[in-house]
Subunit: 231 residues, 2 copies
């Protein structure tokens, strides 16, 4: 398959295409664009993102202010506003930052065995968030604002498209090598995302320690039934 990469500098997005099919579109993070930070010259974007994370954990989305992020950053609100015009701009960048972190952990997965890769991907989606309950709370609040906030909508859609793309790729690979049945890849990827999003919502609403664990088991059962049952 021939893949083209287009970089659109103005809105800082890149596109992967194959023929006329759009494979993937993404925002290029400020982190990628920044110079490699050194100890004497830390990356302000990285520092503000970390400060945002700490402020979100402490105050929650509804009570988050630029002042509170600035307090965590250790500088003035003007220093924050120098990089981000509005709180929504900053939180949109934060959603990109989280996706970048997720991408980094996915890139650490070195196995090319489709079954193992799918298992590890589902672990990243359903086991790793166990340690980040506060982040799940903040993300659900931002998700609930999507009907009123186009920037949030766009970022959540991009994140979802990226994860579905990863799922489709590994399932397609498994079908090609004969370890998975020849299924509707789109449907299976969507079904797995429904399970992931259900678990994340329930982990917040019902404060259930075992929501993610139950969902991980459900995803494993679904994968077995959908992909490896018809032998």
């Amino acid at each position: 398959m021939h893949v083209d990469v287009y970089i659109d500098a103005r809105p800082k997005r890149y596109y992967l295409t194959s023929g006329s099919k759009l494979l993937f579109a993404a925002h290029i993070s400020t982190r990628t664009m920044a110079d490699t930070p050194t100890e004497s010259d830390p990356d302000p974007h990285e520092e503000i993102m970390r400060a945002t994370y700490r402020a979100l954990r402490e105050h929650g989305y509804a009570d988050l202010t630029i002042q509170r992020i600035a307090d965590e950053y250790g500088k003035s609100t003007a220093a924050v506003h120098y990089h981000y015009d509005t709180k929504d701009d900053l939180l949109t960048a934060f959603l990109d930052y989280i996706l970048d972190q997720f991408k980094d952990t996915v890139h650490e997965v070195e196995t090319t065995d489709p079954e193992q890769r799918l298992e590890l991907l589902l672990d990243k989606l359903l086991v790793d968030p166990t340690d980040h309950q506060d982040l799940l709370v903040a993300i659900l609040e931002m998700r609930s604002q999507v009907p009123y906030n186009d920037q949030f909508r766009e970022r959540f859609q991009q994140n979802d498209e990226y994860v579905q793309y990863l799922l489709r790729t590994v399932i397609d690979q498994g079908i090609k090598t004969g370890v998975f049945d020849d299924v509707d890849t789109d449907h299976v990827a969507q079904a797995l995302m429904i399970i992931v999003d259900g678990a994340r919502t329930r982990a917040v609403v019902f404060d259930e320690e075992d929501s993610l664990e139950t969902a991980r088991q459900t995803a494993a059962e679904y994968v077995t039934a959908a992909l490896v049952a018809d032998d």
Copy 2:
């Protein structure tokens, strides 16, 4: 099985128990307590609930005020406050109202065939909400406030316990009559609720018309794999 019903009048709750096991606890709705409304004397609770629904659809949760509900009600804010002290009290009653509506539609299901009953129950959970996108938006906003609002948390937990109880009952019935495999009923009910909640969240965040449809198919596949696969 012997089932006891306790009614605790003060907080208006009832409890169904079997031996030491709590089967079900629920708030008794104002609608149940009110006299049967007549045309000359409409039930104010019912009217305020309907006004709340219209106000939520129009303004969303974040911009909902007692004034806007009063406008829909066609009376003063004092007339609303006479029945509900705070906006949270009113919205908590609204969550009870929605559950009551759901219970009414479930009671309409007359079949006792477990397979058919489970299918119809999943339709109620995943097909019927298609017509109520605005309500799904408002409910996700209220869900995202659960970490900060104990009244909401209690109601969402009660609703979830009730629906899981219905799912467990029909699955148990199917196991007893031999149409379903002898599975972990708790796990299957929880797995189905993960799929339901994932679909409802995605219907809001991704504005997908087909989120609920995909989830309905996923639930059907899961039911087949978990309950009727081992023949």
